[in-house]
């Protein structure tokens, strides 16, 4: 069995690097720009770079919102990367207030300058992830403590329920969530497909988990 991943193509972001990483891990991929047949995928990846408002408007106009909620109820993996993670939250303060998918409660807020150290905004660099939970479930269990990942963002996810935080990262003097999870919904602020071998670990573990679940008939 070769897992099949749907990569949501709604006009933003480098969807090709996500595809390459999935293929490299041994998974098949489709780019999806219409929500009619999501059920044939064992996982959906919502990538994204760019403007929050534009991304939400595109998802709305293509009719993805309802089908996403149904997909998530089915228990399959739904993974938001970078802007895709931020879209999972209730709302964003990026140039006004914009409603998000409201799957995980919280607000997307902008980094504030630290007074002591000069931090560039956006953060464009490799930074460390630190485990916030003692026990981390698949497909996130293979990440290595304090490994460097590649981040590109000016806004971060301020989640209400701290139980959803899996790892944190420090920038501009604050510790913010770099991976969040609520059951089968996962958000990652960094780009696992651009974080070299450290990040490809995730795609391999996702593949193994999907096969395992398939074999148990889940």
């Amino acid at each position: 069995m070769k897992p099949k991943i749907g990569i949501i193509d709604y006009g933003v972001g480098n969807i090709f690097s996500v595809q390459q990483a999935c293929n490299q891990a041994g998974m098949e991929t489709d780019f999806i720009n219409d929500p009619t047949n999501l059920k044939k995928y064992q996982a959906l990846i919502l990538p994204g770079v760019g403007s929050y408002a534009t991304a939400m408007a595109n998802l709305n106009s293509k009719g993805f919102i309802g089908p996403f909620n149904e997909y998530i109820k089915s228990g399959r993996h739904f993974i938001g990367i970078c802007l895709g993670m931020q879209l999972l939250l209730t709302k964003s303060l990026e140039f006004g207030v914009h409603q998000g998918l409201n799957i995980i409660e919280g607000t997307v807020e902008k980094f504030k300058q630290d007074n002591n150290i000069s931090y560039a905004i956006p953060q464009i660099q490799w930074n460390k992830i630190k485990k916030y939970k003692d026990k981390i479930d698949k497909p996130l269990s293979h990440f290595i403590e304090e490994d460097y990942m590649y981040f590109v963002h000016s806004y971060y996810c301020n989640v209400i329920n701290r139980d959803t935080i899996v790892t944190t990262t420090e920038y501009c003097g604050i510790e913010y969530p770099s991976i969040i999870r609520q059951n089968n919904v996962i958000g990652m602020q960094f780009h696992p497909e651009k974080s070299g071998k450290n990040g490809l670990i995730f795609y391999k573990e996702l593949k193994e988990l999907i096969i395992e679940q398939h074999n148990y008939g889940i």
Binding site: V12, N14, F16
Partner: protein, 282 residues
């Protein structure tokens, strides 16, 4: 935590990796994909491809280089050279690039920066500035590999491009480029004082204490290297390009060594940073 990125910059002409001195006098150094792969495996934090000729004829070969590279290396790839329209940006992103760097098109039509940033997000748009110091002590921006003057003063231009939405600035000191004399931290520091986005230093990089001084004095976020890394990598890989003849290959065929410039690898650079308490991915 702030970490410094080390970025190999690969100048491409047709199917080949080339490198000049002061952005002139190109020498063929080998196949860009092989070098990019080598740097990926040896700790590069990103890769920059710069199409130095950017003729229409060579466009397809650039896209092929990008897509072959993007299949095997999983770090960010920035592509610059000859990008003039939203469609050009789309094409290189579709080929597998993560960011584009704009220079001439941004100078000719600054509102293009805004259009590009709105369409693809600021973090996808890097503006490259080629700086030359004038007799009046100011730096001026050039295009076409340092050959054509724009009349734009570098510091105000840097400020303007970030106001228009550039997510990152790549500053090349044309005076230092290909010389291995060290980064021009006076230039870099002046630019950093104007902008809040990350700045990538390029031109003259070596592994002396200049590196540490550059980071302390200018506060830049990333250091791009070309000659310094390529000569070292070339000596290791020793491969002759199979591509079509483009430019001066006699250099390679006679297997001349590059003794003129001190060379080194990414680990040496990172060790130097770490030994001086400057965080970087290791």
């Amino acid at each position: 935590m702030k970490t410094i990125r080390i970025i190999p910059r690969l100048d491409i002409k047709g199917p080949n990796l080339v490198k000049g001195i002061h952005l002139e006098g190109l020498r063929v150094l080998g196949s860009p994909e092989i070098l990019a792969q080598y740097y990926y495996e040896n700790g590069a934090d990103e890769i920059i491809f710069q199409d130095v000729v950017a003729s229409l004829f060579d466009r397809n070969s650039l896209h092929e280089i990008i897509s072959r590279t993007a299949k095997n290396i999983f770090i960010p790839i920035t592509v610059g050279g000859g990008i003039r329209s939203i469609e050009d940006i789309q094409d290189v992103l579709r080929a597998g690039a993560d960011k584009v760097s704009l220079n001439t098109a941004a100078v000719r039509n600054p509102s293009f920066i805004q259009e590009a940033a709105t369409t693809f997000g600021s973090s996808t748009i890097v503006v490259a500035i080629e700086a030359i110091k004038n007799e009046d002590g100011n730096y001026y921006a050039f295009v076409d590999n340092g050959r054509e003057e724009t009349g734009l003063e570098v510091l105000s231009w840097a400020k303007k491009v970030t106001d228009l939405g550039a997510g990152e600035i790549l500053i090349t000191s044309v005076d230092r480029d290909g010389t291995g004399e060290g980064f021009d931290y006076e230039l870099l520091s002046a630019v950093k004082n104007q902008v809040n986005v990350p700045v990538i230093a390029h031109g003259g990089g070596n592994k002396s204490m200049n590196l540490i001084e550059t980071i302390h004095k200018s506060n830049v976020e990333a250091l791009a290297f070309a000659s310094f890394l390529h000569y070292d990598a070339y000596n290791l890989i020793q491969q002759i390009p199979n591509g079509v003849e483009h430019g001066n290959r006699s250099f390679l065929e006679q297997n001349q060594s590059f003794k003129k410039i001190e060379s080194g690898n990414i680990s040496e650079l990172k060790n130097l940073l770490l030994n001086n308490n400057i965080p970087c991915r290791s």
